[in-house]
């Protein structure tokens, strides 16, 4: 058995029960049906990809999970808690983090501050303690700084710690976006096209980070990606959406052979 295969076996053995379940999600904007009766689940520790042509509803799907969009129908179950809609900040506090397709970093802040903001939801000191910088507030700040530094080390962005993120090149900004989400120590991480617009080397780096996050922190990953090579390589199971409908679901190889999927991507001969 080659080492890659044994790692794969270890990874497979870690995959557990469903942590996130979506049942019958429907979302419409006026007359446009963005999502129609979509159901799928995400198992603990797995890498779950969502693919589909442009406009298939992939990002809408993540926005529903995040609470940015409110679905007209359907239920979401996360770690045994069922709800139909939650505010984004509540979802964050439950342990779901997110990166964005078109970067949504805090442009006026440094790399360090962006990542520290990801720790905000764990910080407890009150306004007065912060204003006076009393012992407790200072200690809390330092404790969280240590965690933020671990993430900076992990993503290899030490040199840019104090640089305003607006000045960084695109590939590094994507990394900071990932770092900010990781700082929340989420149970589930939603990645919206983490490799869009990257060159081959940057894609390889990003793949490595995603796999490491999954392995080292045990984070469950839901990934939207257009690069089929990447999707087939790193994901455990794939959901395929087309015009707001689910047309395929299963292991990468199953999906690759699915007639509907081939039709959606390549079209049909008339």
């Amino acid at each position: 058995m080659n080492p890659g295969a044994s790692l794969q076996a270890v990874h497979q053995a870690h995959i557990g029960a469903p942590i996130l379940q979506l049942e019958g999600i429907s979302l419409a904007f006026g007359g446009v049906q963005a999502l129609q009766d979509i159901s799928f689940d995400v198992r603990e520790h797995e890498i779950r990809a969502i693919i589909g042509p442009n406009g298939a509803g992939k990002s809408s799907m993540l926005n529903v999970i995040n609470g940015i969009y409110k679905p007209q129908q359907g239920r979401i179950t996360f770690r045994g808690q069922t709800f139909s809609h939650m505010e984004p900040w509540q979802v964050a506090r439950m342990g779901i983090a997110r990166t964005f397709q078109n970067l949504a970093l805090f442009k006026g802040m440094s790399v360090l501050d962006n990542i520290m903001t990801g720790r905000n939801l764990r910080m407890k000191s009150n306004l007065l303690q912060q204003a006076l910088r009393l012992g407790a507030a200072e200690r809390e700040e330092i404790a969280h700084r240590e965690r933020a530094e671990e993430i900076i080390d992990f993503l290899e962005i030490q040199a840019w710690r104090k640089t305003p993120v607006g000045r960084l090149p695109y590939g590094l900004q994507k990394r900071v976006d990932l770092g900010r989400a990781l700082a929340m120590e989420p149970a589930v991480l939603l990645l919206d096209e983490p490799m869009a617009g990257m060159n081959v080397e940057e894609k390889q780096d990003m793949c490595r980070f995603v796999l490491d996050v999954n392995n080292e922190f045990g984070t469950t990953i839901v990934l939207i990606e257009h690069d089929m090579g990447v999707v087939m390589d790193i994901s455990d199971r794939v959901v395929v959406l087309d015009y707001g409908r689910k047309i395929g679901d299963g292991a990468p190889d199953e999906v690759r052979g699915n007639e509907d999927v081939i039709r959606a991507y390549l079209g049909v001969a008339h």
């Binding site: 995040n66 940015i68 505010e87 984004p88 900040w89 979802v91 964050a92 506090r93 983090a97 997110r98 964005f100 949504a104 970093l105 805090f106 442009k107 006026g108 802040m109 501050d113 520290m116 903001t117 990801g118 720790r119 905000n120 939801l121 910080m123 000191s125 306004l127 912060q130 204003a131 006076l132 910088r133 507030a137 200072e138 700040e141 330092i142 700084r145 240590e146 530094e149 900010r180 989400a181 929340m184």
Partner: protein, 354 residues
């Protein structure tokens, strides 16, 4: 040549996170405080203190307050003079109705009153942004102007509508002369400026800046927009309210509701635009600029030997003032604070080109 951080290694996060991480900056700040406390009160004339330094200190505080909201949290407000008025009238009423109350407590409570009113008028910010929010806060300006002019209780039924304050006494210290007022104001402003700096480098400050830069992303990483925006309004109004109380008690002495009109709100906005949005230091620069410029503009023609009529002078002043603001917005939208930062960056390398 002298301004380098070479050899100053940080070995703890505490050292790395201090407000002035470079030793030379700390020395400069210490020197500044020594001069401000020990030299200025003896050297400055009463006129200089009364016409420039006292208003500068109080307006700095108000500018810091507005900057917390506009520069850090990205919520625009055209109603901040109204919150100054709330602070001033709250302090007046406390002083009149509760004789013998410690003036520091009066200031604190005046700030709290302003904070409550600020949070109330901040509620529209949860739904609307930008220009629409500006218009909504304008409502605060007009409503509060009206309230203090019409509801006689606030002015203690003074027949003329104007109120006047007694001499402030603090722990037996009568704060009467301009130098004494200066020392008191300097202390209050230093402490509150430090507190503001602490806030913006703590997690509350980060949640404000996150809301300013990208509100959807801020919410997705767990920041409650309601909390971030309303605390920004409340803290901002607290600062402005304290500044309003000081403006009334230490600078004006006697005032009527028109003292806190819309033009004061606009002046505060000019201060932070010129000084630098999202910078505590910039608030001081902006307040200084706006306080000193009219006086300079009034005196320069006379110094140069031109004899202008008073009207021409004041028209000229307004024109130059407006032109300077437009010039700043185009050339350096980040204000004097950015120029200062660029200057420091240059000084680090000087006298070498790279």
């Amino acid at each position: 040549m002298f301004y380098r951080e070479n050899g100053q290694f940080k070995t703890s996060y505490r050292a790395d996170q201090q407000i002035l991480p470079i030793r030379q900056d700390r020395l400069l700040m210490a020197g500044l405080l020594v001069v401000a406390y020990l030299v200025v009160p003896w050297v400055a004339s009463d006129y200089l203190l009364r016409a420039i330094i006292l208003p500068f200190l109080i307006l700095s505080l108000a500018a810091i307050g507005l900057n917390l909201l506009v520069g850090y949290c990205g919520q625009i407000s055209l109603g901040h003079a109204a919150f100054m008025a709330v602070g001033a009238y709250a302090a007046y009423n406390l002083a009149v109705r509760v004789p013998g109350m410690n003036f520091l407590l009066v200031l604190l409570l005046a700030g709290v009153c302003a904070a409550l009113v600020g949070a109330l008028f901040g509620i529209p910010s949860l739904r609307i942004k930008g220009l629409y929010l500006a218009v909504a806060t304008l409502a605060a300006q007009f409503f509060i102007d009206w309230m203090f002019a019409r509801v006689k209780w606030f002015t203690n039924y003074a027949s003329s509508g104007s109120v006047s304050t007694a001499t402030v006494e603090l722990f037996g210290w009568k704060i009467e002369t301009p130098a004494e007022k200066y020392l008191f104001l300097l202390s209050v402003v230093s402490v509150l400026a430090l507190a503001a700096k602490n806030l913006v480098r703590s997690h509350i400050g980060r949640s404000w800046m996150a809301t300013r830069d990208m509100d959807v992303a801020a919410e997705v990483i767990g920041i409650r927009p309601v909390y971030a925006k309303l605390t920004a309004f409340a803290v901002s109004a607290f600062y402005v309210g304290v500044a309003g109380a000081l403006w009334g008690f230490m600078h004006l002495g006697a005032w009527e509701p028109a003292a806190f009109g819309i033009n004061v709100s606009l002046n505060l906005l000019f201060m932070i635009i010129i000084g630098g949005m999202g910078s505590i230091l910039g608030s001081f620069f902006g307040a200084f600029f706006i306080t000193v410029l009219p006086i300079l503009l009034a005196q320069v023609p006379a110094m140069l030997g031109f004899n202008l009529s008073v009207e021409t002078g004041s028209h000229l002043e307004l024109m130059i003032f407006g032109a300077l603001i437009v010039f700043f917005l185009i050339v350096e939208p980040h204000g004097l604070a950015r120029l200062w930062a660029i200057g420091k960056e240059k000084l680090r390398l000087w006298p070498f080109p790279h």
